[in-house]
């Protein structure tokens, strides 16, 4: 197990290194650089000034040289300043990451907590009214654009009824209840949009499992419907679902751009978007790289979950 984790970490390191180059290269390909923006804001700048500034910030070097320079500094822990915020990159990223995690993590847990029982129940009675109802609700959720849903919820609950704040986060020092009030709408939007597809995954996987021979064995043993589905079925049915949820795990940290924007939630999605649009190279690079790292971490977690769920999968016994 330990050896496996070490090997996986080493692999991940290679992937991260490659990704950092790819992301750096892609950012380098973007039209314009910070100096262009400076120049457009200041009509007194001459082309000579621009060239001088480029040279000063090494922006006249080829991409791979700039990358190597950046990498060297990154290894010493110097990730640079955010151009937009005028603060060290990590100081900007930290709070955004936390607030995204609070929003997306809550939404993720709530969505799973709804999707698993709902998907399992639908699968255990296929073609029943319950199954059709779940399907209808799931497809409605999948089909709703999140921006539309967010605006509708906001119109109804914040504007017309005035029950909830329309956006932002609770003022510092306010109680848990107050914070929850601010979270409710963005969380609800993300849950409604995601819970449909999650429950469809669970349902599909459980349908597959409930057709298996060992389910018939369990029935032949005298196990009741509840025991057959929740004990014999669920653990087998969860194995493929974990894969999908693990892929979602990475996106937890990159945030939900639309929902964060609509509800002015100061999270990662909005930060990444702003940093790219504002040519904030340092910030965009680290934010995107962080998403890579966390996606890799999600996959590692999924592999560990497999081994926990399925005894046929043993990790760390490589040959």
């Amino acid at each position: 197990m330990r050896q496996y984790l070490l090997a996986r970490s080493a692999q991940s390191l290679v992937v991260i290194l490659l990704m950092s180059f790819v992301i750096y290269g892609l950012i380098g390909l973007m039209p314009g650089d910070p100096i262009d923006i400076l120049a457009s804001e200041d009509p007194t700048m001459t082309p000579e000034d621009v060239a001088a500034l480029r040279a000063l910030y090494d922006l006249d070097l080829p991409v791979y040289e700039r990358y190597l320079n950046w990498l060297g500094r990154a290894f010493t822990g110097e990730l640079g300043y955010s151009r937009l915020f005028g603060q060290p990159v990590l100081d900007v990223l930290g709070p955004a990451l936390v607030s995204t995690l609070v929003l997306m993590g809550t939404a993720f847990i709530v969505a799973i907590a709804i999707a698993i029982p709902v998907g399992v129940l639908a699968a255990s009675k296929p073609r029943s009214a319950l199954d059709y109802g779940v399907n209808l609700f799931a497809f409605a959720g999948i089909s709703l654009p999140s921006f539309w849903l967010a605006l509708m919820l906001m119109t109804l609950l914040c504007v017309t009824l005035g029950w909830l704040p329309a956006g932002g986060t609770a003022p510092a020092g306010s109680g848990v209840l107050e914070q929850l009030r601010y979270m409710l709408l963005p969380v609800a939007t993300i849950v409604i949009v995601n819970v449909g597809s999650y429950s469809r995954f669970v349902r599909a996987s459980m349908l597959e499992v409930l057709r298996k021979d060992y389910i018939r064995t369990a029935r032949a043993k005298g196990a009741g419907q509840w025991r057959v589905v929740w004990r014999h079925g669920l653990r087998n049915g969860m194995i493929p679902v974990v894969t999908i949820l693990a892929l979602e795990f990475g996106s937890l940290f990159s945030g939900a751009l639309i929902v964060e924007t609509i509800f002015s939630w100061p999270g990662m999605g909005k930060l990444i978007f702003d940093s790219i649009m504002g040519n904030d190279f340092n910030l965009a690079l680290i934010a995107l790289l962080l998403a890579t790292v966390l996606t890799l971490l999600g996959n590692l977690l999924a592999d560990i979950c497999y081994a926990k769920l399925d005894p046929r999968i043993v990790i760390g016994e490589g040959r």
């Binding site: 018939r216 064995t217 032949a220 043993k221 005298g222 087998n236 769920l309 005894p311």
Partner: protein, 333 residues
């Protein structure tokens, strides 16, 4: 007064009711199974023998249902019981083992836990006591070092061992009846013999009656006291083991027996029965075997043959047999 038989199946018909309408798959199957005896249902794939077995415990696949008939376990009709009543019988008074021991065991639980589950469900045992008892069961079915095997998962055992585990699960609660659906088909021949011997021994020790489903007369001849031969959803001949094996009357039984390899016959090539079993939607109006039958006469394709008692134990359904029998009786009369 006659003693009620252990299991009496009367005119059991099974069908599938789905979007394409109702299809009758098994029709008017009747048989009785006595304590400690083995009855074998024999026939090609698709003749309805497994469905018949599943119907006894109402474990039919989705959309399958019993259309008519009764399944009486010591006088109680299983066909009219509700799910809760059936759960008390499944795995307790009637158990099943299946063809594929790999897929029939749950891959995510150790085998000991799977044996113990039957005991927990039916004997009300605590988990610890049930696990201990399960190890004893594993030993009884001939699994070496049962205590350390009990914590193994199904994929860590060989096919033969897995089928032994299935038997341990099935017999844990000492059922009156064991339904064995082609239990040796997926195993290689030497293991087959071991499993059959094991079932035989356990039957003698526990007095369990066995409903043994197979397509292989070689296997059936080792196990069965009585045999019912099924074709296209009907029992076309039934009788004692010696009636069927030594004195088969129905042309299908005769043909099927000829396809079984024998050690005392030297043939270059085994005979095969031409054609296939007609599907449930394509059954001819007359005798279903008529299109493949070498002795079929005109009325075979028009009229269903009635079941005919050939002796006290021996029944067959065939027109040819009917007329020849009648001729015999005319001659005697």
């Amino acid at each position: 007064m006659a003693i009620t038989p252990l299991l009496k199946v009367d005119n059991l018909s099974i069908g599938f009711d789905n979007d394409d309408g109702l299809v009758r798959v098994v029709e008017d199957v009747s048989f009785t199974l006595e304590r400690g005896q083995t009855l074998s249902l024999v026939g090609e794939s698709g003749c309805g023998k497994s469905l018949t077995a599943f119907a006894l415990l109402q474990l039919l696949p989705p959309f399958g249902k019993i259309l008519s008939g009764s399944v009486c376990l010591q006088g109680e009709n299983l066909a009219s019981m509700d799910e809760a009543q059936l759960q008390k019988i499944r795995g307790n008074r009637i158990s099943m083992i299946f063809q594929e021991p790999m897929s029939a065991l749950n891959p995510v639980f150790p085998v000991g836990v799977q044996v113990a589950e039957a005991l927990i469900l039916h004997k009300g045992m605590a988990k610890k006591a049930a696990l201990k008892e399960a190890v004893g069961m594993l030993e009884k079915v001939g699994i070496p070092d049962p205590a350390s095997r009990a914590v193994n998962y199904p994929h860590q055992l060989s096919g033969g061992m897995r089928q032994r585990v299935m038997i341990a699960i099935a017999l844990a609660c000492e059922p009156e009846i064991l339904i064995a659906d082609e239990p040796t088909t997926a195993l290689d021949v030497t293991i087959q013999a071991q499993i059959l011997d094991l079932m035989h021994d356990l039957q003698e020790n526990l007095g369990t009656a066995i409903l043994f489903i197979s397509h292989d007369f070689g296997v059936v001849s080792r196990m069965a006291d009585d045999i019912a031969v099924m074709y296209a959803g009907r029992v076309i001949e039934q009788g004692s083991s010696s009636d069927i094996l030594l004195n088969p009357q129905h042309p299908y039984t005769q043909a099927l027996l000829q396809t079984t390899p024998r050690i005392d016959a030297s043939l270059d090539r085994l005979p095969a029965i031409a054609g296939r079993v007609p599907g449930p939607r394509r059954r001819p109006p007359g005798c279903c075997f008529a299109p493949r039958c070498s002795v079929a006469v005109d009325c075979c394709s028009k009229q269903r043959p009635e079941r005919l008692a050939l002796s006290k134990s021996h029944i067959a359904a065939c027109h040819v047999l009917d007329s020849s029998k009648q001729e015999v009786s005319h001659a005697h009369g």
